[in-house]
């Protein structure tokens, strides 16, 4: 430790600390402008942080100069004051100080300093830059004449999202911050630059003129747009969310957000929000009272229950809703209706993870925390377009690779934003993952790189695995996957030897008929190399929706109660019967995909809470037919979705900003959201509706507040045993958290797998159900894009998101495009055995030749009209990632 004094205050800090850091440590304030603590290196450009150091005739910049033993720093002298004032006078001599209409007024670092140092009239007059304001992108407005050229924006953009969209251009007096060739900004629009800017030079177009910091009330919440679960505050004025502010030092997002978090919140106040219950009469919706609507639902459910039995009713819970609401939903279905027919869209994304990892390890969730990724030595990303689907997790990968020297292996048919950083990128054919990873394991075993101790002490079934992968020689695997042998060998060596290694995967692995097996194969690979149960080393399924982890955790699944406790287990069932005071059904319920198939046949009524199967499920033409033949369909949602349009009763609900509750993010962290604004019209929270309906069904449910529901969850769910609203009020807790004193669990399977020993499953590669042929010669794969979320019911109602990405498109490789005579932007027809859609062609090399990609967010060209409803036999997850298709000129 180095000892020094600052303004006579003694302080000791680590060697290498700067004077500014030392001053912060002992509570002495030194102003700064160009310095930004989120950045690795200090900049030393603005000179506002100057201090005097005894014995040194020059003033020193506190942000760049390191401390020294015995140093005596003086921050408040006349000399320092004059020098700082001089800097401010220079800055203000070329600053368009129109604080009256500035978005940053009251929160601007320059304004604060000018006030503190009493810079009335700038001493220097003369020419000023006059660049004006640029508004030529959907999200950000740049006022160059308020820019002090501190460079924070330039540095964050390069360092945090690794985009480098902007830089200083020109020089001297003419310098400004701009994209190349002074064009309109075209980047990932994360907003990091805006959060970093100390002045009013970068503003959100979405929140402009709607309230400045001092007029806004900050309400802590969790972004509803993906499983990262970024922490932020909703900034509220006059009952409206007008801006957001990412939470600094959050272990999830550390002050960053992606474009959806930063600019997508305006869906909350969209004019399309449902405001009153609706009942369909003669094919038309008419407004109804809550009493009438819920009365009707209860009556219908009771009649159907009496006539065809409880199992002819099903329910879709929601990965968008809170844990409390999902808990009540499954409780209502099980205890009040009397069926285990409850499921949610996890079926369509990670059901195979839940099933596969439960078999291999004993529990199916991310083994590690988001923040651990940055310290992995090798990161294997497969079947996950992380930079677009989990932007904040991608930041950790960028950090690992760019700052910490980690090696990146990508196994994905598509080119991703971090592909240029990959040591090895294997672009295998969609649907051949199992062969590919068996190939990696073959190489690892052949070269003796397996972790023998780990295999011996922590696993079972190794010999069987060894036998199966023996066949998967690099040559053989190259034949199946199209990946050159050298790449397979290089990836295998890197993953097995450069430890700790972490695998990130997502729907590219799970959404196959062989999804469960794909997941188990990944688990095999990790166990084989001992890359498990340690910090920064594990198997990490990235969950898509904001609360898909939580919805699974609290039992919105047909075969388990909260905490993955099996319905089939008599003792468990008895426990829940005692807790809920009612006899519970013994048979496992139907999955989403099975319920859709049964709809109109054995299933008569469906209760859908915040899901949109009419866009999210495979083979939509079939789905529609089934949903239309139901006797009774109830949908509760914030918007009139494609599914709600088919409903008999539609119930308007509160959005995430309008309620208290918890979401569990992909790293198992249970986090709190708070009510920021009132719901529009008569919309009510899902949990209140559920209580009301359950009571009407004769099973009494009443809670004063969601925290009581969480207390009940904790009492019946061992992994949530220690969780309460009070404990997570400051910081979320990661399950397993069995009791009130347990600190939560950062990474899983430390000394022992949840199931005891980890189990190897020998798995053979199996071709996808549909493979290209003469008639349908291309492989169609589907997925998400950065700017939209799920079926777009929220993101497509956000002004900026819709403006930046308004139209469906199909990505097609130039090689195929030339063959078909298709040019970029041209309208094309894409067809499969199940249907046809029309959309624009995006000709680029993101897909390999022979593969096309369509994002599934767009109802006007719904990718799921084309996809095949073939199911994984275990997890019942559909094959969204591979089907045969053809493209023609429209």
């Amino acid at each position: 430790m180095i000892n020094l004094t600052i303004d006579n205050k003694p302080v000791s800090v680590e060697p290498g600390a700067t004077i500014l850091e030392a001053a912060k440590a002992c509570g002495v304030k030194i102003p700064y402008l160009c310095h930004y603590s989120k950045l690795k290196k200090p900049h030393g450009g603005c000179r506002i942080c100057m201090v005097e150091v005894e014995g040194n005739p020059r003033l020193l910049a506190a942000c760049t100069n390191p401390v020294a033993e015995g140093m005596k720093v003086i921050t408040g002298s006349e000399k320092v004051h004059k020098a700082r004032k001089f800097v401010l006078e220079l800055l203000l001599s070329d600053h368009d100080a129109r604080c009256i209409t500035c978005e940053k007024d009251g929160d601007c670092k320059l304004q604060k300093l000018a006030y503190e140092y009493g810079v009335e009239e700038p001493r220097f007059t003369g020419a000023r830059r006059n660049y004006g304001v640029r508004r030529d992108n959907p999200f950000l407005e740049t006022d160059h004449d308020k820019c002090i050229l501190c460079g924070r924006c330039v540095r964050v953009c390069e360092e945090i999202p690794a985009v480098a969209a902007i830089d200083f251009i020109k020089r001297g007096f003419a310098t400004k911050v701009s994209p190349a060739y002074d064009k309109a900004l075209n980047c990932v629009f994360c907003g990091e630059c805006m959060y970093a800017c100390p002045t009013g030079a970068i503003n959100s177009k979405i929140g402009r003129y709607q309230g400045r910091t001092r007029d806004l009330k900050a309400v802590e919440s969790v972004c509803p747009f993906c499983g990262c679960g970024c922490n932020y505050s909703l900034l509220v004025k006059n009952g409206r969310v007008v801006k957001v502010q990412p939470k600094k030092n959050s272990p999830v997002n550390d002050g960053s957000l992606c474009v959806k978090g930063s600019f997508g919140y305006d869906f909350i106040h969209h004019k399309d929000r449902l405001t009153t219950p609706l009942i369909k009469e003669n094919g038309q919706f008419r407004p109804a009272s809550w009493d009438e609507a819920l009365g009707l639902v209860a009556e219908k459910f009771k009649v159907i229950q009496a006539k065809t039995g409880a199992d002819s009713i099903g329910g879709f819970a929601s990965a968008r809703c809170t844990n409390e609401e999902n808990y009540l939903f499954q409780k209502l279905m099980r205890a009040a209706v009397g069926t285990n027919n409850v499921d949610h869209c996890a079926r369509l994304c990670h059901a195979s993870t839940v099933a596969g990892l439960a078999d291999s390890f004993g529990s199916g969730a991310m083994t590690n925390s988001i923040a651990e990724i940055a310290n992995a030595k090798t990161i294997l990303v497969t079947g996950s377009n992380t930079p677009e689907t989990h932007p904040i997790i991608a930041l950790q990968v960028f950090k690992a690779v760019r700052e910490n020297g980690a090696k990146l292996i990508i196994a994905d048919p598509r080119q991703l934003r971090f592909s240029p950083y990959a040591q090895v990128q294997m672009r295998h054919k969609p649907g051949t993952d199992i062969a590919l990873f068996n190939g990696l394991m073959h190489v690892i075993i052949k070269e003796g790189l397996e972790d023998k101790d780990f295999i011996a002490q922590r696993t079972e079934g190794y010999e069987e695995l060894k036998k199966v992968v023996e066949r998967y020689t690099p040559e053989y695997v190259e034949n199946i996957t199209g990946v050159p042998q050298e790449q397979i060998i290089a990836a295998a060596r890197l993953y097995a030897t450069n430890k700790p290694a972490s695998i990130l995967y997502s729907m590219g692995i799970t959404q196959h008929v062989t999804g469960t097996n794909g997941v188990k194969t990944i688990a095999n690979l990790a166990m084989l190399t001992g890359n498990l149960g340690r910090e920064s080393s594990g198997v990490n399924p990235l969950r898509g929706q904001n609360n898909v982890q939580g919805a699974c955790d609290v039992g919105a699944l047909p075969n388990v109660y909260p905490g993955y406790q099996k319905v089939a287990d008599v003792a468990i069932r008895a426990k829940f019967e005692a807790a809920w005071g009612v006899k519970l059904p013994a048979n496992n319920g139907l999955t989403i995909t099975e319920m859709v198939k049964a709809a109109g046949n054995s299933l008569k009524a469906l209760y859908v809470m915040g899901e949109n199967p009419m866009l999210s499920d495979p083979d939509l033409t079939e789905v529609k037919k089934h949903l239309e033949s139901l006797d009774f369909l109830v949908v509760q949602d914030i918007f009139m979705t494609e599914t709600a349009e088919l409903a008999h009763v539609v119930l308007p609900v509160a959005s995430f900003a309008e309620k208290d509750g918890t979401f569990t993010n992909t790293e198992r962290r249970v986090q709190l959201l708070h009510k920021a604004v009132d719901s529009p019209g008569e919309a009510r929270t899902d949990w209140q509706i559920l209580c009301d309906l359950s009571t009407r069904l004769g099973y009494n449910m009443s809670y004063d507040h969601p925290s009581q529901i969480m207390d009940e969850i904790a009492s019946v769910t061992p992994i949530y045993g220690g969780i309460s609203f009070e404990r997570i009020s400051k910081l979320g807790l990661q399950w397993p958290c069995p009791d009130k004193n347990h600190p939560g669990t950062k990474f899983l399977h430390k000394d022992k797998f949840s199931r005891g020993l980890g189990k190897f499953f020998p798995i053979e590669f199996q071709s996808p159900p549909e493979w290209p042929d003469a008639e349908y010669p291309l492989i169609l794969t589907t997925g998400r894009v950065l700017f939209h979320f799920h079926t777009g019911s929220m993101s497509r109602r956000s002004k900026g998101l819709e403006e930046v990405c308004p139209k469906p498109y199909v990505e097609i490789n130039p090689v195929d495009a030339v063959k078909l005579g298709i040019s970029d932007g041209e309208m094309v027809k894409v067809g499969s055995r199940r249907g046809e859609i029309q959309l624009a062609a995006a000709v680029n090399d993101r897909c390999t030749p022979g593969v096309i990609f369509i994002p599934f967010h767009f109802k006007e060209a719904a990718a799921n009209v084309l996809t095949i409803a073939a199911l994984d036999p275990v997890a019942k997850i559909p094959e969204f990632k591979v089907c045969a298709a053809r493209v023609e000129k429209a």
Binding site: E158, A164, A165, I166, D167, F168, I169, K170, R171, G172, P179, A180, Y181, P420
Partner: protein
Amino acid sequence: MNIPQPLWQEIEQIIVSYPQPQGAVLPALHKIQERMGYLAEEALAQIAGHLRIPQVDLFEIATFYTLLYTRPHGDNIILVCNNISCYILDSETILSTLEDELKIKAGNTTADNKFTLQAVSCLGACDGGPVMLINDQLYPHLTGDKIRRILKEY
């Protein structure tokens, strides 16, 4: 405008002769400008991709140096010094004379594409102020008449 194949090969030669990709930036940009006249957007994107340096960083460099051009320019480039020594010797009048003669404002190109006029900071010839540089030729001790005479030579 993309970089034509033969030029690209020359640039690759330049790039491999530097141990760090950053080192190759300026020589590569010079080479492109020499052959293609200016640094077209596509050309810069190609170099950026190849060197794995963000395009905007190359643009920063290109706009920092007065002698690199990111837009097409006239057949002849006139640079007039407006730095302190020349300024004292009335470089302002020199510049406005040129603007009047060419009927354009500094920073622009004449309609016949013959001249591009630009004011710059210091041409390193303070002893000869006021000075201008046309292409590679330096003209010291300028006066209005001298300027008119010189322009006729082009």
